[in-house]
């Protein structure tokens, strides 16, 4: 009985259909598969009802520890999600549709993506956005490939303060292409500007920086933008969208291509995905953008409508000469991002950014008050900062996990010589009470 999940036919209907086709059994339809190639085993579980299935999933979720207090970020952030995000993105007219190939019956998705692109342009201060990419890491890689195409050069310079995950993804993407990657080691949690100046010449396609960076430091890259443009290269900036409620926008800085991870915009942590990546650029680079782009136009009666546009860039037309191999986007996650941004709104995003910084500054001051603990960077920070502990951060983090606190990301495994450094994240969700508890527990852990 359980075998029939979501397959509606009765035996009578199956018989009727087989007679129309002119075969005696369903098995006859598989005759094109040579007998010698047929599967001899299929060792899978026996199946169950949706109720038992959900029970099993509850049991799996129960095997993770519950209610961890997160002071970890590193690209994914524990932010509030307004109720409307789940409810509206949960409309199955959105989530059971597909890529809007037929615009007349997909105006809902298309207009939403146009509004999403608008939100990303306004947030980043740039002219054009695509309809989203997979995640922040792959967005960095796509931006680098875009810069290689635009400049016709083959060198990418990476600020070592960019997320190590994003740098690793970028290196994986570019490994098989004829591209030289130069990495600039961080200096006390900041870009080594002299080191960068030493490698910046007219062979460089792009420089990739992150703001705030992996250590949490905020930097002003305006001067850097001029230097990069001076050698005919592009500046790619990976940004944190919540921080853009406060920080100078990529457009104002002079960044040519802005990328980032959209998880913090209304997408749950969900053990790392799905989220979405965003990419925005100045208008002259639009034909080199990867992925889907929605454009405004009119119908036969002059009525406004939306379509997928500039498709001649894409793989289904250009095949191996396409600007990217990407086919889908992360439509539903981008929709969640749009609903989030529209719910929080213009003034609300600024408030949210301020709330994040207020909480983080409070935590930073309290934590730095613990004997032997100091803050790594002299630079200002947003909602992440790096502590230098009097002992190895690994041991402290492991000890605090037992107390239900994810204390931060130890830097030792990403930066040699940083074994005592810990990147702490404090979002608006952390209460003063939780921060105070963290301070007490950290102090206790350091005493042991």
């Amino acid at each position: 009985m359980n075998d029939s999940h979501y397959c509606p036919h009765t035996p009578e209907e199956i018989a009727e259909m087989l007679s129309v086709i002119g075969v005696s059994g369903v098995e006859d339809l598989f005759a094109p598969i040579p007998a010698a190639l047929r599967a001899t085993t299929f060792n899978l579980p026996s199946g169950m009802s949706e109720f038992e299935t959900h029970g099993r999933m509850q049991a799996i979720a129960g095997e993770n520890s519950q209610g961890m207090i997160n002071f970890i970020g590193g690209g994914f952030y524990d932010h509030l999600i307004p109720s409307v995000v789940d409810h509206l993105s949960g409309r199955s007219e959105f989530y059971t549709a597909y890529t809007p190939y037929q615009p007349e019956c997909s105006q809902g998705t298309l207009q939403a993506l146009f509004e999403y692109q608008t939100a990303i342009c306004r947030l980043t201060g740039l002219d054009v956005s695509n309809a989203s990419l997979y995640d922040g890491g792959t967005a960095c890689a796509e931006a680098a490939m875009m810069a290689l195409r635009i400049t016709g050069r083959n060198k990418i310079v990476l600020d070592g303060c960019v997320s190590p995950f994003s740098r690793q993804v970028l290196k994986t993407y570019l490994f098989n292409l004829d591209v030289e990657i130069v990495e600039i080691a961080p200096q006390s949690g900041l870009l080594d500007r002299a080191g960068l100046a030493g490698v910046l010449d007219d062979s460089v396609a792009a420089v990739l920086v992150q703001n705030p960076n992996f250590f949490g430091s905020i930097e002003d890259f305006s001067v850097l933008a001029d230097q990069v443009h001076g050698v005919g290269a592009l500046l790619i900036g990976s940004v944190y969208p919540i921080a853009l409620g406060m920080l100078k926008s990529p457009g104002e800085i002079g960044i040519d291509i802005a990328v980032g991870d959209g998880q913090s915009l209304g997408n749950p942590l969900s053990f790392g995905g799905p989220s979405f990546g965003f990419i925005a650029a100045t208008k002259k680079y639009i034909r080199n953008m990867p992925g889907r782009i929605v454009g405004e136009t009119v119908d036969r009666n002059g009525k406004r409508g939306y379509v997928l546009t500039l498709q001649a860039r894409e793989q289904h037309i250009k095949r191996h000469k396409a600007t990217s191999n990407i086919c889908s986007n992360q439509g539903l996650c981008a929709l969640r991002g749009l609903i989030f941004l529209s719910s929080v709104g213009k003034a609300g995003l600024a408030d949210l950014a301020r709330l994040n910084r207020d909480k983080a500054e409070y935590a930073k001051a309290q934590l730095a008050g613990i004997p032997g603990v100091s803050v790594l960077q002299s630079a200002v920070t947003f909602n992440e900062f790096t502590l230098v502990l009097p002992k190895k951060a690994d041991q402290v983090v492991t000890a605090l996990l037992e107390k239900g606190i994810a204390a931060g990301v130890p830097l030792g495994q990403y930066y040699a010589g940083s074994e005592n450094a810990l990147v702490v994240t404090v979002t608006e969700k952390r209460t003063k009470k939780e921060i105070d508890l963290f301070v007490r527990e950290l102090e206790a852990a350091l005493c042991n």
């Binding site: 999940h5 979501y6 086709i21 369903v26 094109p32 579980p45 299935t53 959900h54 099993r56 999933m57 095997e63 961890m68 994914f76 509206l88 199955s92 959105f94 989530y95 059971t96 549709a97 597909y98 007349e104 019956c105 997909s106 105006q107 207009q111 939403a112 692109q117 054009v128 995640d135 792959t138 994003s166 993804v169 993407y173 406060m246 926008s249 749950p268 053990f271 995905g273 889907r292 405004e296 409508g305 939306y306 546009t309 191999n325 990407i326 086919c327 889908s328 986007n329 539903l332 749009l338 719910s343 929080v344 995003l349 709330l355 207020d358 409070y362 996990l401 994810a406 990301v409 608006e428």
Partner: protein, 482 residues
Amino acid sequence: MQLIYEQSVPGRRGVKLPASDVPAAPALPTPLLRKEAAGLAEVSELDLVRHFTNLSRRNFSVDTNFYPLGSCTMKYNAKVLENSAALFATFHPMTALLPGGVDFCQGTLGMLHDLGLLLAEITGMDEVTTQPLAGAHGEMTGIMLIAAYHAAKGNRAKKKYVVVPDSSHGTNPASAAIAGYEIITVPTAPYGDMDLELFKKAMTDEVAAVMMTCPNTLGLFNPHIKEISDIAHSHDALMYYDGANLNAIMGKVKPGDVGFDVIHVNLHKTFGTPHGGGGPGSGPVGVKKALIPFLPQPRIVKDAAGILQLETTNPGTIGRTANFFGNFGVMAKAYAYIIMLGGKGLIRVSEQAVLNANYIKERLKPYYDLPYDMTCMHECVFSASKQLAHGVHAIDIAKFLIDRGYHPPTVYFPMIVKEAIMIEPTETESKATMDAFIEVMIEAAKTAESNPQALLDAPLTMPISRLDETKAAREQNVCCAW
């Protein structure tokens, strides 16, 4: 409909944020701050809800309309899967990467590991990485694994080419190009599969991989697949299986048994997770033993004590292909789908998907040209060539279907069929739904003869008529001016 920005009123607020319980931090230096707030919408919550609810009503979707979009497997998405995925919403991926953190993530890591085992059994592979975020991302990962395999044997420079049939998805050559390969395209023979003689000629020791979709994009299973993989292997080329059409063959044939070395699986197609208006998808990649040393990291492994661990020290790895462990939320749905349907359920899925496609093919054959007239798998590809004689193109038939409440099939793909109409009903559609669709398709064919203008004018019942795509591409208006 107005844009959300056109409904904005300066000063109007949406969701209320919590009050701060800490002192206000001093302001940042002005040069670091943005000059003005980002021009996001300023709307009330009710206006927001009405806006997006009304937008949603301007979509066709599986839950509202039959959606036989060929190559996309638009099956019903069981509601319980949404509930199950939501159970994992609060788990931070970074927890698992902390020292000692895996102990706190045994449920989620275990599920990913189990999903890998299930997919390995379904596809006949030895190990699966769940990191790739979509089908094309899986293809890219898979070809990079193949590149690493050849490099480890000292053959990276020698192996320059990837062979694809001309019926392949555009993502195949595009993914191979990112992995640094040049493409050799082999034409399709009149019997509907890659031309075997031309394939043999194309194969040299310089070929790194052959990418196949099987059944192919014509919905046909290539009976020579074993021979093709034997030829490829004789040149030390590896076989890549594009899993887009896996819905046709579960339990019937395993790609790993017929010579494939690498496969990606589109969880959003075969394993019942929703397509989300274009994503999120998920594209786990399965490999044979010889390729395990190159898998992306962190790799989820079970230690001798049965504890899930993250392996990050493998020197052969191609590296990281995504920031964390892949689209976990999508994988939770696919995992729930597989354990719910079980082996027999999955076999039935493939059987009824194939039954439905053949039923539609037989019933529409008298009315539409069927360039490759043979038993199909999960989808069938017609041509609107008969209708073209009356000035009606595939796109016009598609628009007529929209007026009748059907999402059109895929049109103009595969490119090798002129005026292609590619129909994939999936297993979840009832006979009654398909019969009603068939009648409308027949009506379209008859209208093409009697009143072609009616098809050229369609659709008339939607909020908009056909759009000027040239204007969109010329003006490049991709964001609402501010």
